[in-house]
């Protein structure tokens, strides 16, 4: 394993220490070492925005702690849901009395731990409402949307929910827009190589050279099919063809488009993909209101990429456009000069 690791059992602890040291203006520790919070949280009167998940997806989840984004994060082992206690402590770290919006992804472990954590918080009188991201189209058919995984669309859910909370909206409103965001969002991933969890030390699945896994999950979960590796333009088409009919996105729609690398993909190639994706969307009558291209939600050092589209109306646009500051997503207000 050609990697920067000390004790493979301690990668999460050491990473978290590094995060706290590197971003004192954004990230602060809490009494639970598996919970980090936005340095300014909790903010009086503001709904607390919480998320959590396994490690190995940087910038997700810790990287979205910050200004107009997430207030507290529960941190799990690599590719493992955080504990119920961690979610509960994250709720406490984020709550100012205005309640907590827990915006997380649809995985068995996370569902169970959040459920328990909510029960614990209820006893303390902390109101916690949840939105469960399930934007990953290939993980279940449309009539079983409840089974679909949450993937990179979570970033847009946090952006929208975080912005709404920052505006001072009450909990129900924050939940409404976050749910609306994810309901308008669809994603698909393509994997070209597997990745290696440090504690395991060998790739956790296989993709043959010359093949690719269409619909891969963020932990290497099998997708829809394994096909021959195709040129970037054809992969772009495959992704667009999977995502568009599902919402469905229709001609005339405006969308936020997020193309994220899965870890090892050269950023150059994400722009090659985006170049074609934008053209395909334009050909389908869709206008990209705001693109995000980069490593927003990764799977260690997997070679691969995800495409996420969110259909936006005026409400979602305004929330997406709001200034934000975090390690993983920084967005300055619009300047007059351009």
């Amino acid at each position: 394993m050609q990697r920067f690791v000390n004790d493979p059992g301690q990668v999460v602890e050491e990473m978290l220490q590094g995060f706290v040291k590197a971003h004192p203006d954004l990230i602060a520790p809490t009494p639970n070492p598996r919970v980090l919070k936005y340095a300014a949280a909790p903010m009086a009167g503001k709904v607390g925005v919480v998320t959590g998940g396994g490690s190995g997806h940087k910038p997700a989840f810790v990287g979205y702690l910050g200004h107009n984004l997430v207030d507290a994060v529960a941190v799990g082992e690599v590719f493992t849901s955080p504990s119920a206690q961690a979610f509960y402590d994250a709720f406490k770290a984020a709550d100012s009395g205005a309640g907590v919006a827990c915006l997380y992804g649809n995985y068995a472990g996370d569902n169970l731990n959040v459920k328990l954590a909510r029960r614990m918080a209820e006893k303390d009188g902390i109101r916690v409402e949840v939105v469960v991201a399930n934007d990953d189209v290939p993980s279940a058919p449309p009539d079983e949307r409840g089974k679909r995984r949450g993937v990179a669309g979570e970033v847009l859910m946090w952006k929208v929910g975080g912005a709404k909370a920052a505006q001072g909206a009450p909990l129900d409103e924050v939940i409404r827009v976050a749910q609306k965001a994810i309901d308008h969002t669809r994603s698909v991933g393509v994997g070209l190589t597997p990745c290696t969890i440090p504690a395991v030390g060998k790739p956790n699945f296989t993709i043959e050279a010359g093949k690719m896994e269409v619909g891969i999950g963020h932990h290497g979960e099998p997708g829809i099919e394994v096909t021959d590796l195709k040129p970037a333009d054809e992969i772009a088409r495959l992704m667009v063809d999977i995502v568009l009919p599902d919402l469905p996105f229709n001609s005339g729609d405006e969308v936020v488009a997020l193309v994220s690398g899965l870890g090892a993909t050269p950023v150059m190639e994400l722009y090659i993909l985006y170049n074609r994706i934008e053209a395909l969307l334009a050909a389908a009558g869709l206008r990209v209101y705001r693109p995000y291209v980069g490593n927003y939600f990764t799977s260690l050092e997997m070679m691969g990429a995800t495409l996420t589209l969110m259909k936006v109306d005026d409400e979602l646009k305004a929330l997406v456009d709001m200034e934000a500051d975090s390690m993983g997503l920084k967005q300055l207000p619009k300047r007059g000069n351009v």
Partner: protein
């Protein structure tokens, strides 16, 4: 009437930890065949931490409370909350009892099972630890109704657990990670079903060995 003395509560956890740690590699191997191969690591990490936190004077309820809280607090994934709830609900069902009698253990088992089912939403036949736990609880309850002694009821519970575990070999997973594999999950014993048998078997042995009266 047979009783398990509350003063020997710590033995339950000590034996559980020894059992789990001895079988950690086996559990991970089972999980690796269809899941992500971390079941043994998760379990032995969580149980080991609980042992470190053990108050040696605690009664049975206190010991199971420490175990449940540790699993809930430190082990994420699906197992932390499921087994955490199992042990916490067992602990609640014997809180305040100086010693454990057959009826109390029956109530504990019922509470643990209910907790896991309520939280996880899985059913018998889904190829999970419930396929061990459900028949084990049923067998124990039946034995009690028949009026068999505590020790004998515990033995029947452990045997039913073992049979339940083995039955998962031919099942197709319907929940959790392995469920995405569909038919490919058949032919492997479920890791959680295996660990659940180890847990129930270990508890039965400790209790039987410690019964007085």
């Amino acid at each position: 009437m047979s009783l398990y003395p509350g003063a020997q509560g710590a033995n339950i956890l000590r034996d559980l930890v020894a059992t789990i740690q001895r079988n950690a590699a086996y559990l991970s191997e089972l999980d690796g065949a269809v899941g992500d191969g971390d079941h043994g690591v998760n379990m032995s990490k969580g149980f080991g931490m609980a042992l470190q936190r053990l108050n040696a004077d605690a009664d049975v309820s206190g010991v199971l409370d420490t175990l449940g809280n540790t699993l809930l607090g430190e082990i994420g994934g699906a197992m932390g909350p499921l087994y955490g709830t199992f042990f916490l609900d067992m602990a609640a069902a014997c809180r305040g009892k100086a010693d454990i009698d057959a009826a109390t253990f029956g109530a504990m088992l019922r509470a643990g099972l209910d907790g896991v089912q309520d939280l996880g939403g899985a059913a018998a036949g889904d190829k999970t630890l419930l396929d061990t736990l459900i028949p084990a609880q049923a067998q124990y309850a039946a034995a009690l109704a028949e009026g068999v002694p505590f020790a004998e009821a515990l033995k029947r519970m452990a045997m039913a657990a073992e049979a339940g575990r083995d039955a998962t070999l031919d099942m197709v997973a319907k929940i959790g990670r392995a469920s995405r594999l569909g038919e490919r999950s058949r032919g492997h014993v479920d890791a959680g079903a295996a660990s659940c048998f180890l847990i129930l078997g270990s508890m039965a042995a400790t209790l039987v060995g410690g019964l007085t009266g």
